[in-house]
C-alpha cells in the first residue's frame, strides 16, 4: 500500500462533463452541492473540464461557484474516450493531490472514474445519493444498497483522493452568479493521439433529454409491451417529460437517457405518473422525491400502488387515451396545468 499523507491533499474537485459543448446537468448539480462540502472542509472548490473549445464551459463553471477551473483543452479529448480522459485526469490528480473528487454517475463518469481511482489508489464509491463530512473531515458517501432497502455509508479514511460518482438528479442546481470570481487555468495536456488505444468510429447522439428537472413526468414500464404510444401521448397532453423504468429501457422501447431508478436518474417532479410499472424498489428509489405519484396498472397487487398517492387498476391502453381525451377537452391545457 502506498504511503499517503492525507494532510497533503486538499480541495474539492468536480468533474464537468461535456460532450460537443453541451454540459451534462449533473455536473452543475455536483458543483452546487460541492460548494457546501468545500466550505465545511475550508478548502477550494475546483472544477475540472476536459474536452475541446472549453472557454464557455470554464466561464460558466466560475459563475456557478468554482474558485478555480482547470481546463484540459485539446482535440484528443473530443469525442470522449476512456483512455485519454482517464490518463489526463489521473495525471492531474497525482500532480495536484485533491482531497475529494466528485464525478457524475453517467455512463461517461462511471466509465472513466475507475481509470483514475485505480492508478491513484483512491477510494471510489459508486452511484451516491447523499454526501457529507464526518467529524474527522472524511467524506461520507452514502449509496443505496441491496435494491434500495438500505443506505450504506462508505468512507475512505486512509487513502486520497476520496472519489465518488453521484447519481444524476439527486442534487438541485443553483442559479449562476455572473459576479462570482474564479481563476481559470489551462493545464498541460499529457495525452497524445498516437498513444490512444481506442477510436470512436461513429457517434449518433440525438435525444439527450433531461428528465431530472421536469415538473411533470410520465413513465412507461414493461406493461406497455412495446407500445409506448399511449404513454407518450399522455405525457404530451400533460406537458410532461416521458420517462421509463429499466425494463422498458432494456427492451429498447425508450432511450436510456430517460431511465428513472437506481441505474438511471432521480426525478423530483410535482407529478409522477407510473404507467405499466410494477414498482421494483430500484425504480421507486428514483422517483420517491416526487410530490404526487399516480400509478396505472392492471395488476391490483403491483407494489407500485403502495408507493403511489392515487392509483387506477385497469388497462393502460384504455385509460391513457381516455385521460388524453379529457385533457384535450380543456380549452387551454396550459392554463389548467399551470
Amino acid at each position: 500500500m502506498p504511503d499517503i499523507d492525507i494532510d497533503d491533499h486538499s480541495d474539492v474537485w468536480v468533474f464537468i462533463e461535456e460532450h460537443a459543448g453541451e454540459v451534462a446537468p449533473v455536473s452543475w448539480e455536483l458543483l452546487s452541492e460541492a460548494k457546501g462540502l468545500a466550505e465545511e472542509l475550508d478548502e477550494d472548490l475546483v472544477a475540472l473540464a476536459i474536452g475541446e473549445d472549453l472557454d464557455d464551459v470554464a466561464e460558466e463553471a466560475v459563475e456557478r461557484g468554482a474558485d478555480k477551473v482547470l481546463v484540459a483543452d485539446d482535440p484528443v479529448f473530443e469525442p470522449y474516450r476512456a483512455d485519454p480522459y482517464g490518463e489526463q485526469f489521473r495525471y492531474l490528480v497525482e500532480e495536484r493531490e485533491p482531497d475529494v473528487v466528485l464525478i457524475g454517475g453517467t455512463h461517461t463518469g462511471r466509465d472513466f472514474a475507475g481509470r483514475v481511482a485505480v492508478p491513484a489508489y483512491a477510494g471510489l464509491t459508486a452511484d451516491c445519493t447523499e454526501l457529507g463530512i464526518d467529524e474527522d473531515g472524511h467524506l461520507e458517501a452514502r449509496r443505496p444498497a441491496f435494491g434500495g432497502n438500505v443506505l450504506a455509508t462508505i468512507k475512505c479514511e486512509r487513502h486520497r483522493p476520496q472519489m465518488a460518482t453521484i447519481r444524476p438528479g439527486v442534487f438541485a442546481t443553483a442559479d449562476p452568479d455572473p459576479d462570482h470570481e474564479g481563476e481559470i487555468e489551462e493545464v498541460e495536456v499529457i495525452v497524445e493521439e498516437a498513444d490512444t488505444i481506442s477510436e470512436v468510429v461513429e457517434r449518433n447522439v440525438g435525444d439527450t433529454a433531461d428528465i431530472t428537472d421536469a415538473d411533470r413526468v410520465v413513465a412507461a414500464g414493461r406493461g406497455v409491451e412495446g407500445n409506448v404510444e399511449p404513454v407518450a401521448e399522455l405525457a404530451e397532453a400533460l406537458d410532461a417529460e416521458l420517462a421509463a423504468s429499466r425494463a422498458a429501457v432494456d427492451e429498447g422501447w425508450i432511450d436510456g437517457a430517460r431511465q428513472v431508478g437506481q441505474t438511471g436518474k432521480n426525478v423530483r417532479p410535482d407529478l409522477y405518473v407510473a404507467v405499466g410499472i410494477s414498482g421494483a424498489i430500484q425504480h421507486i428509489e428514483g422517483m420517491n422525491d416526487s410530490d404526487i405519484v399516480v400509478a396505472i396498472n392492471n395488476d391490483p397487487n403491483a407494489p407500485i400502488f403502495e408507493h403511489a398517492d392515487y392509483g387506477i387498476v385497469g388497462d393502460l391502453f384504455e385509460i391513457c387515451p381516455e385521460l388524453v381525451e379529457q385533457l384535450e377537452d380543456v380549452d387551454d391545457p396550459a392554463e389548467v396545468l399551470a
Binding site: M1, H19, R81, A82, D83, H107, D111, A113, G114, R115, A117, V118, Y121, A122, L124, A126, D127, A145, F146, G147, N149, V150, L151, T153, I154, K155, E157, I197, S198, E199, V200, R203, N204, V205, T208, L238, D250, G256, A257, Q262, D270, L271, N288, D291, I292, V294, F305, E306, H307, A308, Y310, G311, I312, V313, I319, E322, L323, Q326, L327, V336
Partner: protein
C-alpha cells in the same frame, strides 16, 4: 499475438436479490435465506463471449474470484458452452472492495493470457460497475463499457463495440487486449445443452488458482488493502403515500386538479 483469441469471462456468485430481506426491528440484512446464484448480468457477458467464439477462433474461459463454494457458477458457464473455467481463490482476498478485486481479476486475465475480458455490466449485490474499468486500468488495457453489440476484427487485433451513451449510441474500436462490460439484457443468453450440463456437473473440475500463482502480493488485496470501507448501514424509511384507489380517469383528473398539479 496468437491466432486463437483467449476470451476470459469474469463471473460472480451473488445472493439472489429477491431473497435478501431486511429485519424490520434491527434494520439488518438477512442474507441467510438467500440462494446463491450466478449474477444475472453475467449471463449476457457469457453469451457475448460465446458469440465471439461463434465468429472467430476463440478459447472461452470463465473465471470467478471467490471461495470453493462458488464452483456452481463455473459449472453453469461450462454448461452454457465455455471451454474452461478457473476458480481464483485465496483467503487473502476476503473483504476486498473494487480496487483489489479488479487487481485480482486483472492478474488472472494476465495469467490466462487474455485478449478479451468480458464482464457483466454490474453485480446485483453491490452494483458499482467499477470492476471492469478497474481491470482495464490495472493492466493499462482498452475498455468498452455499456457494450450492446460486438464485432470482432481479428485482422486488426481489434473489437468494435456499439456502446450505449447518453442520448444515443456510438461505435468504438478498441485495440486488444480489451476489457468489455456488456450491458445487462442486451442479448439472449443461450440455454445450457443437456450434454454440457451433465459434463459440467459430473466430470468437470475447475482449475484453482491462488494469489501466489497469479502472482499477487497479498498485502495488496483483502479488506486491509481496500481503500473504501462500509461505515454503516441504515434502512430507508418509506415515503408515506396516500395509496388511494380511484375508479376512473375522470375521477383521477378531478383529484389531481384538487391537488393543484393538473
Amino acid at each position: 499475438m496468437t491466432d486463437q483469441w483467449t476470451v476470459v469471462v469474469g463471473i460472480k456468485q451473488v445472493p439472489d436479490e429477491d431473497d435478501v430481506t431486511i429485519d424490520p426491528d434491527t434494520g439488518t440484512l438477512n442474507r441467510s435465506g438467500a440462494d446463491s446464484i450466478l449474477n444475472r448480468p453475467d449471463r449476457n457477458a457469457l453469451e457475448a463471449a460465446l458469440e465471439i467464439k461463434d465468429q472467430v477462433d476463440a478459447n472461452v474461459i470463465a473465471v470467478t474470484m471467490g471461495p470453493p463454494q462458488a464452483t456452481p457458477v463455473l459449472e453453469e458457464a461450462i454448461a452454457m458452452g465455455c471451454d474452461d473455467a478457473v476458480l481464483v481463490t485465496d483467503r487473502a482476498f476476503a473483504g476486498s472492495d473494487t480496487w483489489p478485486t479488479s487487481l485480482v481479476l486483472a492478474s488472472a486475465a494476465d495469467y490466462l493470457d487474455a485478449d478479451v475480458v468480458l464482464c457483466g455490466e454490474e453485480t446485483t449485490d453491490s452494483s458499482t460497475g467499477q470492476v471492469p474499468p478497474g481491470i482495464a486500468a490495472h493492466n493499462g488495457w482498452a475498455q468498452l463499457t455499456y457494450a450492446e453489440e460486438l464485432e470482432p476484427k481479428p485482422d486488426e487485433d481489434q473489437i468494435v463495440a456499439k456502446r450505449d451513451v447518453e442520448g444515443g449510441h456510438e461505435y468504438v474500436a478498441a485495440d486488444l487486449p480489451v476489457v468489455i462490460a456488456f450491458a445487462y439484457g442486451e442479448n439472449e443468453p443461450r440455454p445450457a445443452g443437456l450434454h454440457r450440463k451433465i459434463y459440467a456437473e459430473t466430470e468437470f473440475e475447475p482449475e484453482q488458482v491462488t494469489a501466489e500463482e497469479l502472482p499477487i502480493d497479498t498485502d495488496r488485496v483483502g479488506l486491509a488493502a481496500s481503500p473504501t470501507q462500509v461505515g454503516g448501514m441504515e434502512t430507508v424509511d418509506p415515503v408515506e403515500r396516500e395509496q388511494e384507489r380511484l375508479e376512473s380517469p375522470a375521477e383521477l383528473l378531478e383529484t389531481l386538479a384538487e391537488e393543484g398539479v393538473v
